[in-house]
Amino acid sequence: MHRSGRSATARAPVVIEARAVRKSFRVPHQRIDSLKERVLHPFTRAEYRELDALKDVSFDVHKGEFFGVVGRNGSGKSTLLKIMASIYAADSGRIRMAGRVAPFIELGVGFNPELTARENVALNGVMMGLSRREARTRLDAVLEFAELEEFVELKLKNYSSGMMVRLAFAVMVEADADVMLIDEVLAVGDAAFAQKCMDVFQAKRSAGKTIVLVTHDMATVQSLCDRAMLLHHGELLHDGDSEEAALRYYRLNFSGEGGHGAPADGGIPDVHARVVSASLEDESGVRVDNVEQGRAIGLDVVVEARRELERPVFGLHFLNAEGAVVFGFNVDPVDEDGRPVAAMGPGDRVRIGGRVQNPLLPGRYFVNCWVFRQRNQSGALQLIKLLDFVVYGTSPGPGLIDAQADVAARLEPSP
């Protein structure tokens, strides 16, 4: 991996220190928000369900780190960001931060369509933590970055949405915070814009700024973040290597843990590729649902690209019921003439088929397919769940697999 990882930043001073941060929301079964209801039912205490959004979360972020916060919907990651940004108050625990902190929960907070770009930049800049003078002096830089110099006196309501996003992003870039708390603002705009965002974040990090990014996009986490933490139902499951965080995130999504949603759909939309069909065959090529221990596994999978996939690689992982990868291998697609496929266009399909030697012990197994952009490069585009099957047999054996062993034990002649 080309990333510096934990060791490089461990020596840098800590700029965010969170200790046992706890937050719960009281979710009323029936919301009482008028006086009449209060007066009519003065003794019925509103019934609340305590929803623990964060349970004793502790972590450190060092100066200059690009720190990812990942988790499924409702895992508490946005709540954590809002507590760091002083938007919500924590119930207990404490957070200490250094330097100027600016939250970017949404682009263009406080933008007013009736005002000109000039006035909005001043307003938005102050909201991002600049003083009025600083906001004014940065106006030119903001407009230049947004490439909107000619439209400075135009009211925002006459801006196109693309121009508005550019302006908002420019303010954020020029706000020059030491710690940037970013909540999926990347989701707006087109691919080119998303790329520009990434470049800017990289540049900020190189300039010694600290970035905390809350996201669902594991490709971003794997390619950009130095470290990442994984939250699940308000608990910190992982804090460290971002690759590992992404993997565990996928496992959460695909193992169906927590019982939310169909595991087959996971939390990841079929953005880059989708599975058209996937089936197992036995040794004689007959479609089966489950396989016998020791018998080769026949695979027949068709995957369709939904976007342009440059030099795609498909990584097949066999996971056991606990979610551990038992073994896996990569497949490079080739065309009819056996040449490597340079790119797949939207709608192009690839058939992955063949035999896999079966070392699996009896039990339940899953087959997942990672779609990579190129081999030996980080940045998995997507994880597709392909199969869910059972290996049946009578020799459970220790460990995870049946090893082909040629080992004998002979009695030594006594000396």
Partner: protein, 282 residues
């Protein structure tokens, strides 16, 4: 990532509060928002400023006709027309600010939920915007006063005291209603009615001395009453009884002063209590 060893000072994140983020920032935001809102009212419509003046003038015209032609209260009070106009404009400030403030925090929802924002700035900005309006309207009103034949006097400086007292009370009420509204959505309706009741229960249409004794003891409890009486003696009619005399001596002024102070204390208490949680209520 050159991990410079310079000491980095960690500061506690205290969460949202009335003035969270520092006074300097609160002041910057307050001015920016107030000026922005003010510009919006005056440059947003074709006739701009005229509209905001038209409203008190229309009300003044109607009330003047009613109280001089129908009820004839105007005959008993010197300079009644200017007093009426003056009172309407000053009370208009209180009413406009507090009624607008009720929903102000909810209207600024995106800002409250998406940036670190000192909560107090929101209702305060509403009051300051209304203060700008009042200042503009007072220019016209003082023009009327001079044209009516009232000469400028040193006692006009006391009007500054009136403004300070009124500003503080308006802010206090705005803080209370704006922080209650996210939890009790009918605050808007209740306060709308209450503000109208206050309009009649304050010496706006009439001076306190023409009110029968039975009613006067009620009205003199209203903390706005001494403020308006003070405004009247200092600007319109130096011969009119001051706030103390109109209330029937120092005993009479204790109640409104106590209510005034209690309102301010209540405002501070409610607002600091609600401020950290407001974002979650929206």
């Amino acid at each position: 990532m050159n991990g410079d060893g310079s000491a980095v000072e960690l500061r506690e994140v205290r969460g949202p509060s009335a003035l969270g983020g520092g006074r300097r920032r609160a002041l910057d935001l307050l001015l920016l928002i107030a000026v922005t809102e003010f510009k919006k009212t005056y440059f947003g419509t074709a006739l701009g400023y005229l509209w905001s003046l038209a409203r008190p003038l229309m009300l003044f015209g109607v009330l003047l006709a009613v109280f001089t032609q129908v009820f004839r209260i105007g005959d008993q009070v010197p300079n009644y027309p200017v007093l009426l106009l003056f009172n309407i404009v000053v009370f208009g400030f209180f009413q406009e600010a507090t009624v607008t403030a009720v929903q102000s925090i909810v209207n600024q929802e995106s800002v409250v939920r998406k940036t670190q924002f000192p909560r107090l700035v929101i209702p305060l900005a509403v009051v300051v915007t209304s203060l700008f309006n009042l200042a503009l309207n007072l220019v016209v009103v003082f023009g009327f006063i001079l044209a009516w034949g009232i000469d400028p006097a040193w006692s006009w400086l006391l009007f500054g005291v009136v403004l300070v007292l009124l500003f503080v009370l308006t802010t206090a009420v705005s803080m209370i209603v704006s922080s209650l509204y996210p939890r009790f959505r009918d605050t808007a309706i209740i306060w709308g009615v209450a503000a109208t009741v206050l309009f009649y229960a304050t010496p706006v249409l009439y001076p306190l001395e023409v009110v029968p004794d039975t009613m006067r003891s009620f009205i003199s409890v209203n903390p706005l009453a001494p403020i308006f009486e003070l405004a009247r003696t200092s600007v319109i009619d130096p011969t009119a009884p001051g706030p103390v005399d109109a209330a029937g001596g120092w005993d009479g002024i204790i109640a409104p002063v106590a209510i005034y102070l209690a309102t301010c204390a209540l405002a501070l208490w409610t607002f600091t209590r609600e401020a950290p949680r407001i974002a979650e209520q929206l």
